[in-house]
Structure formats: structure tokens, C-alpha cells
Symmetry: C2
Subunit: 304 residues, 2 copies
């Protein structure tokens, strides 16, 4: 039945202190699907593009066992476009423009073949649309959801209606503080888990990630990177690696969730090594395993 | 010969959103010595106070096997005083006042009994004084040094002269970026290690700490704390736990350094649970071991 991924596909124009690209492949569904594709397939992508969406991108996604039956291609429409500029300190970025284009009227329709999917990843889109996706599913068992400050501020009510329906919420530290109205992340995590999701992951960029479940808190390190080429898509790649690993193993134990967080961090670290989706296009599972072990060495210590 | 600790002793007036204390025991040498005292003794403290320094504090330090032969008590002088206010987000603090008092003329004199100490911890004081301490030592083998943005900005030259003489520099992330003129912490660490210290520890507060040596990078988690009562002294407690463990074991291998970072984090976590030095006054080694293991559970994951 596959892993269902719903989110945006876009054409990104990105400038960093190192280089610049125009109209490169981007979007949350794109990064999530590519990252997840290394673990198991098929990935069933639901999203929307215009007829200007390059065929080479379609082909590339197809080669990664990403099923595009649910991709709406609007004849004569223009694909979603985003442009951002990163500063010398790559933690800071400015959005230069956002053109919603066909994405403005996106109404996700889940193909029959994907409605029975047990694993669902809701990329960062309007919580109203995320709920609409779940309405169409027959009996999803593990729903991972991303969101952002824009929705927390602008569609709080709709987001709070969605949260009890998701198993895992993945947000960053500033979003967690905003959603919980609480600066202490440990307290914020308790408050957010009480809103619905039994599992919460707080991404902290260069400081790693925290996993909160009923019985455990797990602190994952960040991969020490001297040169981050393009941070775009890191969070989506994390979500893709996380759900991809769980979809492959079907093991939802705490120990497996911890490994999934590390696989998420692994995919995010590959993502930022190249512009656009390039860092996720030609990996081998051996490379992924190798980096997983590097994460292990990074944080491991023993009693004397 | 003991572990030599040089730094400030002071009377702190601290306000947090939870409570307020006046003229409570503080100072870098105080926190370092107390934290280190749980691992091995004797601790030889060198510092300066006025005759207003309460005898109960002297007694308390003595009960922790802290040798005060090197403590200068200036008759008629006033002890160093600092006052700070923490905000609701405890990462932010304002200094309300700093009265140097007797500390302004501090000229550390190392007692003969301590000049042969092999382990030295230089608390955060003027790098000129830190160098003066080392000038008096016979053959120190392991020198740990703390500093802060004030010295990095105001006494850069003197600090750079000191750094080749220290084995471990412990600073926080913003200080590392400032010292190296580099926002990427991994690159900054390389640059700082090239300034002299073969071992660098970057403290990241609620995000844990990073250890950099020639052969390894180690990422230590932060202890998940719902209520931080008073963050004052956390960094000094970290330094004390770090050098205390190494002084006890005399094992300077990478694996031991990693454990020392966790013991440092452990002592910092106890420190912030109570106001002033209260969190470090009545611990047992069993409690410390127990929290060390909690740190282990927090970051440990296994391959499937």
C-alpha cells in the first residue's frame, strides 16, 4: 500500500554566501519522498504542480520508486515558487518571494490505491488540508505531521483540531515555544503532547533534535558539519528519513523511534551538503548506514 | 598536591522569576571547587575576599575538603559583589551591578603547598592573572581555563598569549564564535584549537556541550530540566565536575574526557536546581552516579 506523502512541490531560487540556484526542485513533499525512498517503497506522493514543472524532475522522482499517480498537473498553471537568501550565519534566512500559483487552490485528492496506506506523512501545508487528507484515509495507523509558525499563528484552531489525529508532530524549537507559549522546551513538550500527538520531535538545527514519548526523552546530536551548502529542505528530509525507517521496519518501539530520529538526522545531513535535492538523489544505503554509525560515535560514552 | 582552583569568590544578589536572594555565596572559584570536591581532594582554592565574607561560607567550603590557605582575606575590605536578574526565558539575564571591591586588586599568590599541583583550573578572571598563576606553577600537567566575551573583546592579545599554555579551554557557543570570528561552531573549534588548547569544550546551555580533541568530536546532551531555579554558576560547576573527574582518575584518554564532560554536565544540572551554591552543598556520590546514568539513557541508541 505504500507510504503516503502529502505536501508541496516547488521551484526554488536560493542564494547562499557560496552560490545561487534558480528554479531548482524543492517543496516539502519532494524532500520527504526522496529521503524516505532510500528505506522502502513505494512512496505515494500527493501534491500539485503546473505544466511548467520540468519533466526531468518527474523522471528523477520516478527513478526513486516515488509513485506520482496523486500528483495533480494543472494544464497551463504555474508551479509554486519560493525564493530565499541565506546569510553568512546559515541559521538566518530571508524569504525574498513566495508565489503560491497552482498551490493556492490545492485540494489534495488521495488516489484509491493510497487510501489504505497505514503510514502517512503530512508535509508542512495548511492544517485544513492536512485534515482533509486524513478524512480520505481508511485506517491510517501512523501519521507524522509537520507544521510551521505561519500556521501556528494564523490557523491555531484548525491545527489544534488536527493534532489529536496525528501520532507524531515534528516542529522546530521556536515553533514548539510558540505553540506551547512556554520558553522551557521540556515543559513545552509536555504541553504539546497533551494537545494530541503521543510522540513529539523538536528539531534544533545545529543542536540536534529531541524526541519525547510517554516513557522517554531522547537527545539526538547534530552531525558536525563544517560546510552547509544549502539548508533548504533539511527539516523535510529529517521527516522523510524518520518515517521511511519506521515504514521499513514497522517497529514503533521507543528504541526504534530513537533510531528513526538518527536516520532522520542522517538524511538531513546529506540534504544540506548540496543545493536543492541534489544531496538526496544519488545516495547508497551503505552511505546512509555509515553516517548512522558516525552519529553513534558522536554521542556514545561509557561508564568507566 | 591537590587540584588548584583560582578564580573569584563573591556575594551574589540574584532575582529570577521564581525568587530572589541577597548576598548569597557565589564566584567562579566557589562553584568550581564545590563541584570538583565530590570527586577527589584536596581542592586548593586561591582567591580574595573582604573581611565581610561570612564565616559560615568559609566553614561550608572547609567541610568540602577545600583548602583555603590561598584565600586572601583583606582586613576592612569588601568582598566582590554581583547582582543579576534572569528573565522568564532563563537564557537571558541582565547584570544589575558589579562591585569589584577587593577583587580589583587581586594578585593571585599560589601557596608553596600548591605550586606542585599537576591539575589546575583557571576560573574566569583576567587572562593576565591567569598567566600569573601559571608563572608560579612548577610543572602543571593539565590546565583547564575558562574565559568570557569581556576578556575576548577587551584583552584579546593577553588571552592569545595564555592559550598556548592551557590544555583545555571551556567557553560557550557565543564566545567561541566571537573568539574565532566564525559562525560555524565546527570551523570555529578548529580555529580555536589552532590558537593553543589541544582540547576545546563549547558549552551550549540547554543544548548540551561539544568536546573537540585531535581525534574526536563528542556531543553531550543537556539534562532535560523543567525548572531551572538559578542558572548562576552552571558553567563553573561544569568546569569543576570536568576537572574533578579527571583529577580523580588521572585518565586523560578520549573516552575519559567524554565521561568528564558528562560529569561536568551532571554537576551543572545539580547547580541550577537550587539558588546560589545550595545545589552543590549536600550531594552524595551516588546521586552523581545516578544522574550520570540518566545522561547515558538520554543519548544512547543502538543499531537494530
Amino acid at each position: 500500500m505504500g507510504l503516503l506523502v502529502v505536501g508541496s512541490l516547488g521551484l526554488d531560487t536560493v542564494a547562499t554566501p557560496f552560490d545561487k540556484i534558480e528554479n531548482a526542485l524543492g517543496g516539502s513533499a519532494t524532500y520527504i519522498s526522496l529521503a524516505a525512498s532510500y528505506f522502502s517503497g513505494p512512496i505515494r506522493l500527493v501534491g500539485i504542480v503546473g505544466s511548467d514543472f520540468p519533466k526531468e524532475y518527474i523522471d528523477m522522482l520516478n527513478t526513486h520508486n516515488i509513485d506520482l499517480e496523486g500528483l495533480q498537473i494543472v494544464e497551463g498553471g504555474k508551479t509554486f515558487r519560493w525564493s530565499g537568501k541565506y546569510h553568512y550565519d546559515l541559521n538566518v534566512r530571508d524569504t525574498l518571494y513566495t508565489e503560491l500559483n497552482v498551490f493556492e487552490k490545492f485540494d489534495p485528492v488521495i488516489p484509491d490505491s493510497a487510501r489504505k496506506s497505514k503510514f502517512v506523512c503530512l508535509g508542512n501545508i495548511d492544517p485544513v488540508l492536512q485534515s482533509k487528507v486524513l478524512d480520505q484515509m481508511e485506517n491510517p495507523q501512523f501519521v507524522v505531521c509537520d507544521t510551521m509558525n505561519y500556521w501556528i499563528e494564523g490557523k491555531k484552531k484548525e491545527l489544534l483540531e488536527l493534532l489529536p489525529r496525528v501520532n507524531v508532530l515534528i516542529i522546530n524549537d521556536s515553533e514548539a515555544r510558540l505553540l506551547a507559549h512556554e520558553p522551557n522546551l521540556i515543559k513545552a513538550a509536555k504541553l504539546i503532547r497533551a494537545m494530541g500527538p503521543e510522540i513529539l520531535i523538536i528539531k534544533k538545527g545545529e543542536h540536534g533534535a529531541l524526541l519525547f514519548t510517554e516513557e522517554t526523552i531522547f537527545s539526538a546530536p547534530a552531525f558536525p558539519m563544517e560546510s552547509i551548502y544549502d539548508p533548504t529542505g533539511a527539516g523535510d528530509s529529517f521527516a522523510g528519513g524518520f518515517i521511511g525507517y519506521l515504514f521499513k521496519t514497522r517497529d514503533l518501539s521507543s528504541e526504534s523511534l530513537k533510531r528513526a530520529v538518527i536516520y532522520g538526522s542522517t538524511m538531513a545531513s546529506f540534504c544540506v551538503e548540496k543545493f536543492s535535492t541534489k544531496g538526496l538523489e544519488e545516495l547508497s544505503y551503505l552511505q546512509i548506514q555509515d553516517r548512522f554509525r558516525q552519529f553513534m560515535n558522536l554521542s556514545r560514552f561509557d561508564e568507566e
